[in-house]
Amino acid sequence: MLSRLEAKKPSLCHSEPLTAEKVRATLCVLKGILTSCYGPSGRLKQLHNSTGGSVCTTSQSAVLLRNLSVTHPILKILTASVQNHVSCFSDCGLFTAILCCNLIENVQKTDLTATTTIKLNTHLLNFCTSYLRSEACGCRIPVDFSNTQILLCLVRSILTSKPACMLTRKEIDHVSILILRAFLLIIPGNTEDPIILGKSIIVPLKGQRVTDSTVLPGVLIEMSEAQFMRVLPVRKSSPLKVALFSTSLSGDFSDLGEGCMVVSDGVSLENAVLDQLINLGRQLVSDHVDLVLCQKVIHPSLKQFLTLHHIVTIDRVGVMLMEPLSKVTGTQPIGSLGSVSPGSYGSVKDWCSAKFGWKHFFHLIPNEATVCSLLLCNRNDTAWDELKLTCQTALHALQLTIKEPWVLLGGGCTETHLAACIRHKIYKEPGSILQDDGCTQAELQLIAEAFCSALESLAGSLEHDGGETLTDMKYGHFWTIQAGPPSVVNWTDLLSRCGCGVYNSQEELSWSFLKSTCHPFVPQACLPHETEEIRPQSTHSLTLDCLTAKLSGLKVAVETANLILDLAYVIEDKN
């Protein structure tokens, strides 16, 4: 036999990868893509393969990064850590990615050694996280669970920040309320510790109007029309016995693995399996089961047998519904065709069949529900996919507020406020940050400036239509103004509200452009009593962010930037 041997190629080693022009250029492209997506007026991206595959229009980091196939290891590190953050916290993906890009870019301009920058960045990060978690933090609001306003604002802020969902104001209000309701439905009634949250299942109903969306307690299982016609109304009032099968009841043979099975003529394996199924059916009948659910397929003959004995059968439930079904009914999913132990059965309160749009559903109403179904409609596939992801993000953000009952001010205000805090700290007491690391104050000044401007330009990325970005000198909040305003004019009239919507321009403030340098000042906190005051008239328009997600985003961004800055060599295996 002829074989050919090829000599192995030597590995390639690049030193100082960040200094390469190509790397900088691609990093710049990536940053451009991400920055242009950021915020409620962010631009959308069409993702497609240009050969007729489906087109996805999005501005969400989760979708973008999943589909971007980046080549350079540095970009891979960046995208991987952002994706990891998104998979844990859902929100603040773009925030993380852009901040990381900004940091790398700004730090590179300083000419400091990697060790110094990393050390200082870490100190600054620690300052930020401890500030945001401290009582003194001036850019967070406590969540009041007895009032829906703050929670609704949080959900609404998340929905408005994804323009590809194509929602109108009314639809945003409608979906926000649904999401909040879905969130409340999964909180268990008893307040035992620890609280175990239920699950909200998003059920697709594409093509209908968004305002047709609804939330129902319990589980909705899609079924065919023929099945729909067969579902009988419940006739008894006692709890209904349920069996849930995770194994296929279709009568085929489980995977035999490799090799061949030899059967002599006249033996019908199919009939043998069917006999076994019917035996199982007999047991179900004698156990007085009322409903049989199966993840996979039920053999038509078994279905016929069970229907004959007034047992409702629903098959092809799908793996996604198995866990919630087992939870709400209290069943043990049955994984074999052998005899079923009575302990595996569960119960439900009621069921009914329902029709939404063109689809038929089996609606299972459990005794104690911490599971709900969010029937989500949108006009077309692209917008639906985007909306689904957004709803999941919002539901996740709400869940995170239970752990840390605070929200951050959104709309860029937290970023500029944080930058103002850092500037002031460096100006007043640099020693408290420096500790004894052997870094000089000048170095700290440089890195702090890089860090602050990374935060500020992140806030500035919210502006996509050529407006100017400002910060006020009292609270350190973020403001925007039309580009090229007349020189002598009262800014109070030109500006309306700050990014998060807490302050309006009538409060005797002074402003400076974000890019210009200004004298450090003590950013004042919006005190709790102040928020109480502003609440009645303006909570409807507050832009809020999830604290937990944003904190993690900040951490991931700084740490990833540090990691990338620390890279000395890239070794590439060319084989």
Partner: protein
């Protein structure tokens, strides 16, 4: 794998341009007079005849990202409502060029998005005033008056009128013959039609003794002009044909507006003709189908105590190409084509109740239910050396035959495929096997006969068998035999909730169009009955939107009036404060979309020699409507004005029941929304990210403006 990214929003927005170009292709489908198109494949020399937006987009190569989004939007609209796709396509085009104009003027994108979307919302709220309730529509069903009236109407309109694409000379003759009485209808009005009726493209028609003459000549010029437009359709731009086509609609619209006194619709015939939009022959079938279903429901539920709901899933079509148009009809029961070989069998089965089995899957030996995975690693060995005489298929077929004989089944309806071998065997033993039956048909038979659907015939027991089905030829078999030697058979049973509409056409290329049009009509009626409301038709709603937007643009934005701000009122961005400057401009551009829509519509109905002329006409009315202070009452007033005009001529009194033009509500508003959503989605997109391309592919394409990651 390499990913490329292209910036599509430099100076001119490429996506918007593509969108308006693509939408341009559907322009001639707008309005009741549709011009068909030939789509020719240069490579394969294949031709397709299309006359609807959905079919057009199916045949076009829309591989560009924007093309696909457009296709997706149109498909979604079609899947959900089955109507409104042409409106969607046209408005998407009109609005994308309007948005582009806004971009040229330097309006920030966020403001365009916000103002346009709230502008459309405001329009949707405004047009509620033109809704007509559809109530108690079946109260008059008992009286045959309405029905007979409609019949005379449809007779006078002739069966071929909606066939704008039908170009056979025979048809033309028919058309002309049928046109004649209609001309006299026109002259009967005895006075010039008020040109102020923008809904009706009649400005040029000075009705009088020689209306027909005027019409003819004016149309002649139109069609001459149109010839140059319809370069791709060399067959279908005949003068005579066009003439024949547009008139019923005008007639329709003229009389449609006449009897508007109560603004409610409580008669099915009136509703049906109002929603027919010129396609009377299809609508006649739909109307009869609704009546049949209603009658059936009454019989089933006794005295109509249960409110009747039109179940469109129990309406099916049977297309018989090659038969004359007059054979089109609706029948209770299931009409299906079977091979001529079964003719003898059917004769034998006629006039006696037969028993049926309903199969959900295929009827073949190898069929297993969905989800059953056949193991490939099982081998069967023969225990003893005996020669197998029959194949396993033969054994299976024999087994099935035994079962059929045992249960005395003569009819098997199967959702899936059928083994040919078995079919032959069954024919020999006088059993009729029909495969590929629609699920709803099976369901209907199951309900009517008490049969239970099974996956395998081996599951059948006595309880699964349905009884009392009658089989008959649909018409004389010699009359209706088609080229493929298939004959139509009617299967029915007492009280079956199933109606078949038989669609026939001598031109087989038209079959698809005919079917599409039938369903469009059926779904219009379905939505109208479901929503219990319709819009005043004849472009009244669009005109109201146009004038409403103009009025909205003039109104100064009030402080604290958040409804106009859209999501912008959530944001504190400078955009919110500069909204006031741009708002009137954007609203006017949004209105320009309606304006284009109306002028294209008027132009398509062939009463204007140019779109410009049509546009001026609209402009004139726009001024009057805005001047009147309330456009909606202006529109209603114009309707009733014409009304009194008609009533003056006593001869037309008997046409009092003559229906007006209606439009469906939600599908229409949804089509607008989808069109605008699409445009705004494309507008907000600034780059295309192309995934999964090899280096070589991009290099070979030599595309500029790509960035790589």
């Amino acid at each position: 794998m390499v990913m490329a990214c292209r910036v599509i929003n430099k100076r001119r927005h490429m996506g918007l341009q593509q969108l308006s170009l693509l939408a341009e292709t559907g322009r001639t489908f707008l309005g009741p007079v549709k011009s068909s198109k030939f789509i020719t494949d240069e490579e394969c020399h294949g031709n397709v005849l299309v006359s609807s937006t959905v079919r057009l987009l199916e045949s076009l190569d829309t591989t560009s990202a924007v093309g696909q989004l457009l296709n997706e939007a149109v498909q979604a609209q079609n899947d959900t409502y089955r109507t409104g796709t042409t409106t969607l396509l046209f408005l998407a085009g009109a609005w994308s060029s309007a948005v582009e104009e806004c971009l040229h003027l330097g309006v920030p994108i966020a403001i365009i998005v916000s103002v346009m979307s709230e502008g459309l919302n405001s329009c949707s709220e405004e047009v509620v005033s033109l809704q007509v309730p559809v109530h108690n529509i079946f109260d008059h069903m008992g009286s045959t008056k309405a029905i007979s009236e409609l019949k005379t109407v449809s007779v006078s309109l002739g069966p071929f009128l909606q066939d704008s694409s039908g170009a056979s000379s025979v048809q033309e003759k028919h058309d002309l013959k049928d046109v004649a009485p209609r001309f006299t209808f026109y002259s009967l009005s005895g006075r010039p039609v008020k040109s102020s009726e923008f809904f009706k493209p009649d400005a040029k028609i000075e009705a009088g003794e020689n209306t027909s003459q005027t019409l003819k000549s004016s149309l002649h010029t139109d069609t001459c002009f149109r010839k140059s437009v319809l370069v791709h359709s060399r067959h279908f731009n005949r003068t005579d044909n066009n003439q024949g086509i547009h008139k019923p609609d005008r007639f329709q619209e003229l009389h449609g507006a006449t009897t508007f006194q109560t603004y409610r619709c409580s008669d099915l015939a009136e509703l049906a003709v109002g929603l027919s939009h010129g396609d009377h022959s299809s609508m006649k079938l739909v109307e009869e189908a609704v009546q049949l279903q209603y009658q059936n429901a009454c019989m089933q539920h006794g005295n109509c105590t249960v409110p009747f709901v039109f179940d469109i899933s129990r309406l099916i079509t049977c297309s018989l190409p090659g038969l004359p148009e007059t054979f089109s009809c609706v029948c209770p029961g299931y009409i299906v084509q079977v091979s001529i070989a079964c003719a003898g069998l059917i004769k034998e089965l006629e006039n006696r109740p037969i028993r049926v089995v309903l199969i959900e899957g295929d009827l073949t030996e190898s069929y297993r239910h969905l989800g059953f995975n056949k193991s490939t690693t099982i081998k069967t060995v023969l225990g003893s050396v005996k020669l197998q005489e029959d194949s396993s298929e033969e054994l299976w077929a024999n087994h099935i035959m035994q079962l059929l004989i045992q249960f005395n089944v003569n009819l098997i309806l199967i959702k899936g495929n059928v083994s040919e071998h078995l079919t032959e065997k069954c024919v020999h033993s006088k059993r009729l096997v029909i495969g590929s039956v629609d699920g709803h048909v099976i369901q209907a038979f199951a309900e009517a006969t008490g049969a239970v659907q099974v996956a395998y015939i081996t599951q059948v027991n006595e309880d699964c068998v349905g009884n009392g089905i009658s089989v008959a030829f649909w018409r004389n078999p010699l009359e209706v035999i088609d080229r493929n030697n298939r004959i139509a058979v009617l299967l029915k049973t007492e009280g079956i909730n199933l109606i078949t509409a038989v669609l026939t056409s001598p031109v087989s290329a038209q079959m698809q169009t005919k079917e599409d049009r039938f369903w469009t009509c059926a779904y219009r009626v379905y939505h109208a009955l479901k929503e219990e409301k319709v819009f005043l038709g004849g472009s009244a709603v669009e005109f109201l939107c146009l004038s409403h937007l103009h009025i909205l643009a003039e109104q100064p934005l009030q402080k604290g009036d958040h409804t106009c701000l859209g999501w912008l009122h959530h944001t504190s961005s400078w955009l919110a404060s500069s909204l006031e400057i741009y708002r009137p401009t954007v609203l006017k551009y949004l209105a320009s979309g309606w304006h284009k829509y109306l002028s294209a519509l008027l132009y398509n109905t062939a009463s204007y020699s140019s779109e410009f002329e049509a546009s001026t006409f609209i402009q004139h009315h726009l001024h009057s409507a805005i001047g009147s202070g309330s456009p909606s009452s202006y529109i209603l007033k114009e309707y009733s004005k014409l009304n009194s005009g008609i009533f003056n001529s006593s001869i037309l009194n008997k046409l009092e029941q003559f229906p007006r033009v209606y439009d469906v509500v939600t599908p229409k508003i949804e089509a607008w929304r989808r069109a605008l959503d699409l445009v705004l989605l494309v507008l907000q997109t600034d780059s295309e990210i192309i995934t999964g391309l090899g280096h070589a592919q991009i290099n070979s394409q030599k595309l500029e403006g790509f960035l790589f990651l």
